[in-house]
Assembly symmetry: C2
């Protein structure tokens, strides 16, 4: 008796592509992705690579036409449908390079639907490299098996974010001046939500007043210890997923 | 009218020391810590540095005898009592350098009482630099205002950990083969606890059976997405703090 090989092979490389995928679709791959597949993973002809485009689920694709710097991947079967992503946005002030990259990576792993950079007065960084952030989202999605990518929005100013805030979406934020314990606040406010995290220096008093005055705002406490901005973002996301997201279902 | 300066000064550097602190205690500081205070923070005579020793709360200390490579800090007043730390252990298999360092930093910020490295069969790393991990715990405690340091234990083998497991401490673990949603498991199991996180490759089947068979074990699910080991450790800690730790209190 021979064991049936696992399908798709567990060791298959996994790649995000911008081409819309479907039965028989061929994707020409070059650049870094081709280098990774050909020289690092040493993919041979007819071997399987898993592809996802953020919209069509995951596809097993066969490698062909492998050359030095490019190859073609041809979709042969859908291996997973598009995942459903819980309706949670993470709104974060830009912070130092390594730490905002960590937020992007963990937001993707934890299942955030949208990452919204927000410019606040005390931000130490006022420019953000969206391409780099997007690369971190893509890499995390490739590694953690997501078939959807979190949406990454252009940076907005805090006042514009508050002015254009959609009806029916709770706006949780960690308020150093006091808020309900996060478990209590989450239990009392189910449904579409966002968590807003300020920069290292926090919101200034006028910003805090403007957030608190917003009808969607829910001030919360993340406990008695001081958390760095990226820790607050990751912990709040985990707490929301635990109580109100899809971690709460069997 | 002159504004009363804040006490202790908000910009005061904060330092962990191994000397037992108390009224009038003088601490001689040299090495990296002295370099940081003298050359980076440019501390002058009579300026305040905040000290903590992990056992006596936080103390305001006055700088004196500042020389090129050393100085003396003299405790003048206790600024905070020793914090109470919720009774939560994080037990983690060693993983790659940057990622286990991240676990140490975030464990400290989130309020973990003890960090317990655990050797499992699929660990990709079997040695652990405890001094480096401890340096990350100390730095995080200095930055996030903790007055206690998480206890850092020597690495144990998984079977020894299970054999010597203390009575009355729940052992939560993320079981890829299925477990209750984490919110449900946490609500049903209050009290002293630990969360056990395997290495990137997970527990092997015999290990998983041994954990599941332990009377303290509570298998949980952290949702439908695959989490990296360090993400599972941070997310599980945040979930425990949210529902069973001191984030759940006003």
């Amino acid at each position: 008796m021979t064991a049936t090989p696992a399908w798709p092979p567990q060791s298959a490389p996994r790649l995000y592509v911008e081409t819309a995928l479907g039965e028989g679709v061929s994707v020409a791959v070059d650049g870094n992705a081709a280098h990774y597949l050909i020289s690092v993973m040493r993919v041979k002809a007819d071997e399987i690579v898993l592809l996802f485009d953020g919209a069509s689920g995951e596809w097993a694709a066969k490698a062909r036409d492998i050359r030095k710097r490019d190859l073609v991947l041809e979709c042969v079967a859908q291996t997973r449908p598009l995942e459903t992503t819980p309706d949670f946005w993470l709104c974060v002030a830009p912070i130092k390079k390594g730490r905002i990259d960590l937020i992007a990576e963990k937001a993707c792993e934890l299942g955030v639907a949208r990452l919204q950079p927000v410019l606040t007065r005390r931000a130490v960084v006022d420019k953000l490299n969206l391409d780099r952030l997007r690369a971190h989202l893509v890499e995390a999605a490739e590694q953690c098996g997501r078939t959807a990518l979190p949406e990454l929005s252009e940076m907005m100013k805090l006042d514009a974010l508050l002015r254009d805030w959609p009806n029916g979406r709770h706006l949780f934020f960690a308020d150093e001046t006091g808020g309900a314990p996060i478990a209590e606040a989450l239990t009392a406010h189910k449904g579409p939500a966002a968590f807003l995290v300020g920069p290292e220096g926090g919101f200034d008093p006028a910003e805090r007043d403007a957030i608190r005055a917003h009808p969607a705002a829910v001030p919360v406490s993340l406990g008695p210890r001081i958390l760095r901005a990226e820790t607050a973002a990751i912990a709040a996301t985990a707490a929301w997923m635990t109580l109100n997201g899809d971690w709460a279902k069997e």
